[in-house]
C-alpha cells in the first residue's frame, strides 16, 4: 500500500501551480470582483488548455477521466492561487453531463462537455440539496440546474439568460446569482439525472475541500512569513509562543485534513467526501482567523492581498456542504464502523 500521490499526480498539480504562479491572479481577482472577467477568463483559458478539466470527463468528451485524485490535487493549486470563477462548478457540470451518456441526456453531454473540458468555456451549477445561488453565473457561458424532480435545465448564451440578480458575497470575487424560475431548455429529466446529480454533488464537495486546503496553505504560508519578518518588542513576533502555537495549530489542522481529501478522492464515498470537506473547510477557515489575528490591523484591510484569501475561506467552508450538513452525512453513513462495534 502506498498512500502518497504518484509522480504523475504530483506532476499535474505542479504544472497547474506553475501556470498560476506565472499569471497575475491577484489582479484578476480584483478585476473579477469589479465585474471585469477578462483577466480571470484569460487565465481560465490557459488552465483549460493545460488540461485542468480533463480529469472530470471521459475521453469520449475530450477528457482523460474520471480521475478525481488528479483533479483534487490540481484544485488545491487553484485554491492556493486564489483563482476566481466557477472552477468547481464547471468541473462538476462536466461530471454531471458525462454521466448522462447513453441516456436521454447524451446529446446534451456531447454538445456541452467538450466545450467545458477543452473549449475554455465556464459553467455555473445548481444541484438538489446544494446552495440556492448559482456562483458566477453572470461570468459563465453556461448554467446548468437540476431540480428535486430530476429536471436538468441548460441556460446558455454569451451570458446565461435567467440571471435575475447578482448578490454580494462576503468574498467580493464570488458572485452568487439568483436565477429566474423556469426558462432554458430541458435536455433530460428523471432518475438518471438525479443519480448523476448526486455524483456531481460529491465531486463538487470533494473539489471544494481541495480548494479549501489550498486556500488554507496560502494563508498559513503568508502568515508564517509575516511572523518571521514583523518585529515588535525588539524581536520577530514569530518568536513569541502565543503566535507560534496558533500557527502550529493551523498547520496541524491542514496536515490532518489533507489525507482525508486524498482518501475521499480515492473512494468518492459520500461520507468520506463529507469528512474531507468538514476537515478542510474548518482548517481553511481556522487559517483565515489565524492569518487575520497575526497580521493585525493590516490584515483587516482590502488593499492587502491577504484579503483575497481571507474572505474566501468562510464562503468556501460552507459551499457544497456546510459543516452541519457534512457531519450529518458522516453520522448517518460512516463506512468505517467495522471494528469492535459490538463492544460496550
Amino acid at each position: 500500500m502506498r498512500f502518497l500521490p504518484t509522480e504523475e499526480q504530483t506532476d499535474f498539480a505542479r504544472a497547474v501551480r506553475a501556470l498560476l504562479a506565472a499569471a497575475d491572479v491577484p489582479a484578476a481577482v480584483r478585476a473579477w470582483a469589479a465585474g471585469d472577467f477578462a483577466p480571470g477568463r484569460a487565465v481560465w483559458k490557459r488552465l483549460a488548455a493545460a488540461g485542468l478539466f480533463a480529469p472530470a470527463a471521459p475521453e469520449a468528451y475530450g477528457g482523460a477521466g474520471p480521475l478525481p485524485v488528479e483533479l483534487a490535487a490540481a484544485m488545491v493549486e487553484v485554491g492556493r492561487a486564489g483563482m476566481p470563477g466557477p472552477v468547481v462548478e464547471t468541473a462538476a457540470a462536466a461530471v454531471l453531463l458525462s454521466r448522462l451518456e447513453g441516456g436521454p441526456g447524451a446529446e446534451a453531454a456531447a454538445r456541452f462537455v467538450p466545450r467545458l473540458v477543452a473549449g475554455g468555456e465556464a459553467a455555473s451549477l445548481l444541484l438538489p440539496g446544494g446552495g440556492p445561488y448559482a456562483l458566477d453565473a453572470d461570468a459563465a457561458e453556461h448554467c446548468f440546474t437540476v431540480d428535486a424532480a430530476g429536471r436538468l435545465r441548460a441556460y446558455g448564451g454569451p451570458r446565461p439568460v435567467g440571471v435575475a440578480a447578482v448578490l454580494r458575497s462576503a468574498d467580493p470575487a464570488r458572485r452568487p446569482a439568483r436565477l429566474a424560475p423556469g426558462g432554458g431548455e430541458v435536455p433530460a429529466a428523471g432518475p438518471a439525472v438525479l443519480a448523476a446529480a448526486r455524483t456531481a454533488g460529491d465531486w463538487a464537495r470533494l473539489l471544494t475541500a481541495a480548494q479549501c486546503l489550498g486556500v488554507g496553505e496560502a494563508l498559513l504560508e503568508r502568515t508564517a512569513r509575516y511572523a518571521r519578518q514583523r518585529t515588535q518588542f525588539g524581536m520577530p513576533i514569530g518568536a513569541f509562543q502565543a503566535v507560534k502555537h496558533r500557527l502550529a495549530d493551523t498547520l496541524l489542522a491542514l496536515e490532518f485534513a489533507r489525507p482525508l481529501v486524498w482518501a475521499a478522492a480515492l473512494s468518492l464515498d459520500a461520507a468520506e467526501v463529507a469528512a474531507a470537506k468538514l476537515a478542510a473547510g474548518g482548517a481553511a477557515y481556522g487559517a483565515a482567523l489565524t492569518a487575520l489575528q497575526v497580521h493585525g490591523a493590516i490584515g483587516y484591510t482590502e488593499e492587502s492581498d491577504l484579503s483575497l484569501w481571507l474572505r474566501k475561506a468562510r464562503p468556501l467552508r460552507d459551499a457544497w456542504g456546510t459543516p452541519a450538513q457534512c457531519r450529518a452525512v458522516v453520522a448517518r453513513s460512516w463506512p468505517h464502523a467495522r471494528r469492535g462495534t459490538a463492544a460496550p
Partner: protein
C-alpha cells in the same frame, strides 16, 4: 496512490485476527497499575510471545516476525479491535528497543531484547526529575565513573511503570552542564532492585500508584549497560522520543477501536434529536480516520527512505487532544450521573486521556517544535 493492502498483508491480518480471537481473555484483566494486574499483564505478554505476537516488528532472532511498518500497523488495528489488554511492556518495546536497534551492541540486543519480549523484564522510564521536566536537558542526576562502571546518584520522577517494573532506562549527567546542557549526558539502563535504588510510588489522578519517584544513591551500573557512547545520551534519547511521539506510541488502531465503541454507544444510547452530540460523534469518527490516513502517508514516506522528525510532534498533539475530546463525548453520551462513576470504562479512559497532553513531551513543547522546524519561526524564550 492507494489504500488497499496486498493479499499477503491481508493474510497476515487474518492470522493475527484468528490468534487474537482464540487468545484474548474474555473478561478484562485487572488494571495493570496494580500488583495483581501487573502480574496478569506479564502473563499476557508471555502468551503473546508464545504466539509470536509480542514484538512483531523485531527481527525473528529476537522473538519478532520481521514485520514491516504496514504489517505492524495492521497488527495494531487487529489488536485494539479485539479488545486485547494494554501492553505492560510498551516502554521497553516501543522506546528502549528502537534505541537498542539503532545504538546498542549485538551483545546488548541479545541480552536485553528476548526477556523484554517474553514479559520477564518489564521496563520503566527514568527521564524527568523534580527540576527537569520540559527542560529535560537541565537534568542533574549523575553517573560517576568507577573502576568497571558507573555509580548513579540523584532523583528521577514520574517514572511510568516503575512501581512494579524490573529495570529502567534513562539519561544521566556524566559531564559538566556548563553552558551546553545537551552535552555530557549518558544513556544507560539499570536494575530497579539494585542496592541503592529506592522506588516510591506516587498516586495518580486516577488513584493508581502507577508511576514513581526513584531515589538513587550509589547504584552500580556496569559498563555493558551504557547504550551508545558516554556523553552522547541526548542524541540517542531523542531518536527514541522521536519514535515515541511518532508512530510507535499511539498507533491508529487504538483510536479506530475507540471511535467505533463511541459510535456504538451513540447508536444505542444517543438521542437522535441531540444534533450537538451527534456532531461530536461525527468529529470523533472523522478524527480517527484522519489520524489513520495521516499515519499511512507517513508510513509510505518512511518505506521510501524518509524519516519522521518534527512531523511526529504534529502526531502527538493530534492524538492527545483527540483522545480527550473522544472521552468527553462518551461521558456526555452516558449522562452526568453515570459519567461520574469512576469505575466505568469511559470514565477510566477519560482520566487517562487527561495525561496525554502532558507526557511524552508536553503539547506546548511540541507546538514550539512544529513552529520552529516546520514553519521556520525563530527560536524564542519558552
Amino acid at each position: 496512490m492507494d489504500l488497499t493492502h496486498p493479499p499477503e498483508v491481508e493474510a497476515f491480518r487474518a492470522e493475527a485476527r484468528d490468534w487474537l480471537a482464540r487468545n484474548v481473555p474474555a473478561a478484562p484483566l485487572p488494571s495493570l497499575e496494580t500488583a495483581e494486574g501487573f502480574a496478569a499483564h506479564r502473563e499476557w505478554e508471555a502468551l503473546l510471545y508464545a504466539g509470536g505476537w509480542s514484538a512483531v516488528s523485531w527481527p525473528r532472532e529476537y522473538g519478532g516476525r520481521g514485520a514491516d511498518l504496514e504489517r505492524w500497523l495492521v497488527f495494531e488495528e487487529e489488536y485494539w479491535a479485539a479488545g486485547a489488554p494494554a501492553r505492560v511492556s510498551q516502554n521497553g518495546i516501543g522506546l528502549l528497543a528502537p534505541t537498542l536497534f539503532d545504538h546498542g551492541t549485538p551483545e546488548q540486543r541479545e541480552r536485553l531484547l528476548p526477556p523484554m519480549a517474553r514479559g520477564e523484564q518489564v521496563w520503566a522510564q527514568a527521564w524527568s526529575e523534580p527540576e527537569a521536566g520540559s527542560d529535560l536537558a537541565s537534568l542533574r542526576a549523575r553517573a560517576e565513573r568507577t573502576a568497571d562502571g558507573w555509580l548513579l546518584y540523584g532523583q528521577k520522577t514520574w517514572s511510568s511503570r516503575a512501581a512494579f517494573a524490573d529495570r529502567a532506562f534513562g539519561l544521566f549527567r556524566t559531564g559538566p552542564a556548563a553552558d551546553r546542557p545537551h552535552q555530557g549526558l549518558t544513556y544507560l539502563v539499570f536494575d530497579l532492585r539494585a542496592p541503592g535504588v529506592d522506588v516510591r510510588p506516587i498516586g495518580r489522578l486516577d488513584g493508581k500508584p502507577a508511576f514513581a519517584e526513584l531515589f538513587l544513591d550509589g547504584v552500580f551500573v556496569p559498563d555493558r549497560d551504557v547504550i551508545g557512547e558516554p556523553g552522547q545520551g541526548w542524541r540517542i534519547a531523542m531518536s527514541a522520543t522521536g519514535s515515541e511521539r511518532g508512530l510507535t506510541l499511539r498507533p491508529p488502531g487504538r483510536f479506530l477501536a475507540a471511535a467505533d465503541r463511541l459510535y456504538a454507544l451513540w447508536r444505542s444510547a444517543g438521542d437522535p434529536a441531540d444534533t450537538a452530540l451527534r456532531d461530536r460523534v461525527a468529529d470523533a469518527l472523522v478524527g480517527a480516520r484522519a489520524y489513520e490516513l495521516f499515519t499511512w502517508a507517513a508510513a509510505a514516506r518512511i518505506a521510501e527512505g524518509g524519516r519522521t522528525g518534527a512531523e511526529s510532534s504534529l502526531n502527538k498533539v493530534f492524538w492527545s487532544q483527540y483522545d480527550l475530546a473522544l472521552h468527553e463525548t462518551a461521558l456526555d453520551l452516558l449522562g452526568g450521573a453515570e459519567a461520574e462513576l469512576v469505575d466505568g470504562e469511559w470514565a477510566q479512559g477519560w482520566l487517562f486521556s487527561l495525561a496525554g497532553p502532558i507526557y511524552a513531551g508536553t503539547n506546548e513543547i511540541q507546538r514550539d517544535i512544529i513552529a520552529e522546524r516546520l514553519l521556520g519561526l525563530p527560536k524564542g524564550r519558552r
